[in-house]
Amino acid sequence: MASLVGSRVERKEDKRFLTGKGRYTSDINIANQTYAIFIRSPHARAKIKKIDTSKALKSSGVVEILTGEHIAQDKIGGLIAGWAIRSEDGSEMKCPANPPLAKDSVNFVGDPVAVVFAETLDEARAAADLVKVDYKVLKAVSNLSEAMNSEAIHDGIEKNLCYDWLLGDRQKVKEAFEKADKIIKLDINNNRLIPNAMEPRACVIDYNTASEEITCYTTSQNPHLSRLIMSAFGGVAPENKLRVVAPDVGGGFGSKINLYNEEIVCSWASKKIERPIKWVAERTESFLTDTHGRDHITHAELAVTNDGKFLGFKNETIANLGAYARVFGTVTPTYLFGPCATGVYIMPAAYSNVKAVYTNTAPVDAYRGAGRPEATYTIERIVDKAAMELGMDPIEIRMKNFPTEFPFKQTLVHQIDSGDYVAGLNKAKEMADYDGFAARKKESESKGKLRGIGVTSYFEACGIAPSPVVMMLGCGVGLWESAEVRFNPTGQVTVYTGSHSHGQSHQTTFAQIAADELGVPMENIDVVHGDTDKGTFGMGTYGSRSLTVGGIAIVNACKKIVNKGKRIAAKMLEASPDEVDFKNGEFVVAKSNKKKTIGEVAFASYLPGVRDEVKSPLPEGDEPGLIESSFFDPANFSFPAGSHICEVEIDPETGHVKLDKYTAVDDFGTIVNPLIVEGQVHGGLAQGIGQALYENAQYDDSGQLITASYMDYTMPRADDLPNFNLGFTCTKATTNPLGVKGCGEAGTIASTPTVMNAVINALGGKEISLPATAEKVWKACKEMKKSNAKAA
C-alpha cells in the first residue's frame, strides 16, 4: 500500500461543507428553547448606576432577565488570563476581574450588562429595548500611546499597566551597541485586526433537569478547555455535569480560543430558568466583542557593522490588551512575541521589553500567528531598513546573518532543531525571478507606475511545548495533546483527538496518518473531535499545534495498537511477537507465509474464543479489545521557516497598490497533505496581505469602534490577490516521529512584512504605517515627487 502521507488526498470535509451539510452551532435547535439577547454597553467606559428591568420583564414572551447582580448572588466566576506574566522588577502582572455580566462598571463598547431570555428572538429583542441602564459615563482611554499617562481604568492598576516584561540582557545589548558602526532605528505600529470568522460566535445550551447535566454547544477551538474554565473558574457546574460540544466550527483564527461571557451566562441561566437557550451573535456583536488581534507600537533598534553583520537588537513595545486580560492575551505579546523578534538571524545580543496596557477597547488576544507576526514584522522591517541605509541588497544582508548550523540556539529562548534558511531564500529568489526585477521596474516606470520588491525571511515557533516549561513560564495548563484509537470488531477505526478543527481538515489529515500507521484504508477511518463526552481530553487547536502535537498523539496510539496486535497475531500464528512484522496492515511471521490482517486481529481481540474449544487469541495479561490512547508532550516547539518575496506596482496618481507577484517558499518539514497545506498558505497569505494593505480596526477618542461593519472594515478579497507562487523546502523536525512542523500561521506571519517591504521599497524607503491604504501611499508618492524634484 502506497503511503498516504505526502499525497494530495481530497478533503473528507468537502462534501459536507460544499453541499451545505455542515452542522454548525446555530443549526442546532432544542425543543422548547428560549432565545437570548444581550444588552451591551454603548459606552467605552462608564459606571453602572442602575439597571431597570421592570418594564422589559412585562414585555410579551419574556421568560427571564438577568444582570450582574444575579451573577454575583450566584457566585459565578469570571473570565481569566491563562498565563501569569511577571514584570522585569519581579512583580506579578495585574489583572482586573472580568465578570460575565458587568455589575459595577463597563469597560468597552459591547461589554454585556444584562441578558433577556424570551420565547422568540423578536420578543427577546423587543424586551431588550425596554431594559433601562443608567450609566455615569467616564472619559474613555482608547488611544494606546496615551494609555499609560491616562486615568486608571481599573481600580489598583496604575498607569493601566498589566506588566512591564523583559526578556534578554540589557547590559549585553548596551555593550554590543557600543561596538556598532551604525545603529538603525525604526518606529512602527502593528495595526489592530478583527478576526472575522465566517461563522459568528454562538451557543445553544440544553439543561437536563433530571440528570442536572448541562450540555453547551458552542463555537470553540477547544471545547475541553472551555469546560475546564467554565467549571473551575466559572463555577457553573462540576466537569462531570458539564458537556461542551463544538460541532463544525466556521473559522476562528484564535478568536474562538476564549471561553466568552455568553457561554458562561447561558449555561448558568439554562439551569436557573430550566429551559434550553439559544444565542447567536449578530455580525456587529462579532465586530465589537470577539477578541481582536495585534495592536502594538514598537520602537526597535538594530546595531550593525558597516559590512552588514548584526551585533545587537532592542525591541521596546507597548501592547494593547484591551479592557481585560483573556486566555492568551498576556502571553501573546510576551513569550510568543519577544523571543521571535530577533528573527532567523545570529544576533549576539538582544532584548525585548513589552509593556502591556489596558484600554477601553475590546480584549485583544491571539489572532493567527499571535505574537510571531508582530515579531517578524519588527525584525524584517528593520533588516530591510538596515540594508537600505548600508546600501546593501536585502537578500545579501539576510544571507550574511543566517545561521548555517543546526540545531541553532536562537538569541532569546529557542533551540531550533532543524532548518536551512539559505536554501529557502535561494529558492524563493529563483522562483520570484529576483534578478529580473530591475527590468520589470523599468517597464512599470514607463507606464508612470512605481514598482517595489519586498523580501522576508521568517521562522515560527509553533506547538508550544513541553508542558513543564510552558507551566514554568506561567501557563495555567500543560500543552500536550491526547488521542484515542479504537478498532471496531469489524475492522473500521475511530480516532478520537483532543485537537479540534475549525477549518483545518483534521478529518482528512489525521485519517491519512492513521491509515499509514495501521494499514487500513482511509475510508475506514473516522476522526471524532469537539465533544467532551467523546475522547479523553484535549487542549484544542491554535498556534499551529494540531498535527505536531495532536497528530503525533494519534501516531503514538496507533503504534500501541500495532504492538498489542503483534502480541495477539503472534499467539494466533503460534509464533513469538519478536518474529512478527507489521506492514501494510498485515502481521507476518518472518520467513513464512503465515499472516493475519489487522482486521482479523481486531476481530479476534473482541471475540476471543472459538466453538468447542477453550482457546483465546489473547496472550496472558492482555485484555480484550483493541483500543489505545496516548498523551503526547513534545520535547520542544516545532520551527517552520521560509522566505517570501513579493512585488507591488503603485499608481502614484491614486496611491493604489497592486500586489503583482507573490512567491512563498516554506519549510514545514514532512508535508502530510500538500493540497491542504497549500490551502493553509493561501489563506494565511490573504490574511497577512489584508493586514498590510486593508484591514484596520479603529476606535475614536470616545472609544466607539468606527469600523464595526464590512462597510468600513476592509477584508481582503479574491480580486485583490495575485496567483500565489508556492514552493517548499524540507528539513524534518527532529522532535516528532513524522518530522512535521506547523503550517497554519506561516502565511500570515511572513506576508505582512513582505508586502510592506515592497511598498516601502517602491516609495524609495519612505516609511508609512500599517496598513498601506491608498491615501497614505498617495501622500507618500506626492512627497517623494517633491523631494525628487528638489534633488534634481
Binding site: D122, H656, M711, D712, T773, A774, E775, W778, K779
Partner: protein, 261 residues
C-alpha cells in the same frame, strides 16, 4: 426588524394609492431591508413593486436609452442594446456591488435612495437623464436634491429613466476598499449639446462639475484638466479618504475617464 404590513402592488396606481408618509416602496430592497434589519428604519407599510411588469425592461430608440425602474443592474450590465448604445452605462452597472446585489438591486431603487456614494446618480447627471414618474418627468439635475434626498413625493413611483446617448462617455470610480461603493466616481459624457461631468461620492450629493465640463468643452483631452483647480471644501471626509484626497481623486479619475472615452 419591526413588524410591518406587506403589500404586493399589481400596478403603479395601486402602489401609489397604498403609499403614505410611513411607507416604503420595495424593489430590490438592497438598502431598505438592511436598514430595517439594523433598526435604522421602520415602516408601517412595505409596498412591493417588483411584480408590476410595466416597470421593468430596456428600450433603445434613436437618441435615448430608457430603462424601467425595476430593471436589475445585471440586466443593464448584460444588455446588448445598452452595451451598443452607451457602453459606459453597462460597464457602470457591471461594477455595482457584487453579483448578489446586481441580481436584485434595481436602477430605480438606486436613484430613489440617492446614496451619496451610489454609481447610477452620476450616470443620470452625465447622460442628461429624464426621470419619468407616475405623474411627471423630472430632469436629473433637479431630481437629486441632497444626501439621500430626491424631489420625489411619498406616493410618487419612478417608472423609467431615459438617458441621452452621448457621442463618447466613460465612468471611472475609485471604490471604497471595504464597501466598494464609490469613494469618488466620475462620469464624463460628451454630447452634441455639451459636456457633463457627473461626480458621485465626493460630496453629500451627486453634482455636475461645471469647471471640469468647461475645461473639456474647450479641449476634450485629459491634459485640459491639469489646470483645473478642484477645491476640497464641501467634500466628504471619512476614515477611507480625506476631503483633500477626494478632491485630488476627482481630478485623477476625470482624467482617466477622458482617456477612456
Amino acid at each position: 426588524m419591526k413588524t410591518f404590513n406587506y403589500h404586493s402592488a399589481k400596478d403603479v396606481k395601486e402602489a401609489s394609492k397604498l403609499a403614505s408618509s410611513n411607507s416604503a416602496f420595495l424593489a430590490g430592497g438592497m438598502t431598505t431591508i438592511p436598514s430595517m434589519k439594523l433598526g435604522l428604519a421602520s415602516y408601517k407599510d412595505i409596498i412591493d413593486i417588483k411584480r408590476i411588469k410595466k416597470l421593468s425592461g430596456i428600450k433603445v430608440s434613436g437618441k435615448t436609452v430608457t430603462i424601467g425602474a425595476t430593471t436589475k443592474h445585471s440586466e443593464v450590465a448584460s444588455s446588448k442594446d445598452v452595451k451598443k448604445a452607451i457602453p459606459s452605462l453597462a460597464a457602470l452597472a457591471e461594477g455595482i456591488g457584487d453579483p448578489q446585489v446586481r441580481n436584485r438591486g434595481t436602477i430605480g431603487g438606486s436613484i430613489a435612495n440617492n446614496d451619496p456614494a451610489a454609481d447610477y446618480p452620476s450616470a443620470c447627471i452625465a447622460l442628461n437623464a429624464t426621470i419619468h414618474t407616475n405623474n411627471r418627468s423630472i430632469v436629473a439635475e433637479k431630481f437629486f436634491t441632497g444626501m439621500f434626498e430626491t424631489c420625489l413625493k411619498s406616493n410618487e413611483v419612478i417608472e423609467a429613466i431615459e438617458f441621452s446617448i452621448p457621442e463618447k462617455s466613460s465612468y471611472q470610480k475609485l471604490p471604497n476598499p471595504a464597501s466598494r461603493y464609490a469613494i469618488i466616481g466620475v462620469y464624463v459624457a460628451k454630447h452634441k449639446t455639451g459636456i457633463n461631468v457627473g461626480v458621485t461620492g465626493a460630496k453629500s450629493c451627486v453634482y455636475n462639475d461645471k469647471d471640469l465640463a468647461g475645461a473639456l468643452t474647450k479641449n476634450f483631452s485629459s491634459s485640459a484638466i491639469d489646470n483645473v483647480k478642484i477645491s476640497s471644501s464641501g467634500m466628504n471626509t471619512d476614515i477611507h479618504a480625506s476631503s483633500d484626497y477626494r478632491a485630488n481623486m476627482v481630478k485623477a479619475f476625470a482624467k482617466k475617464a477622458v482617456d477612456a472615452c
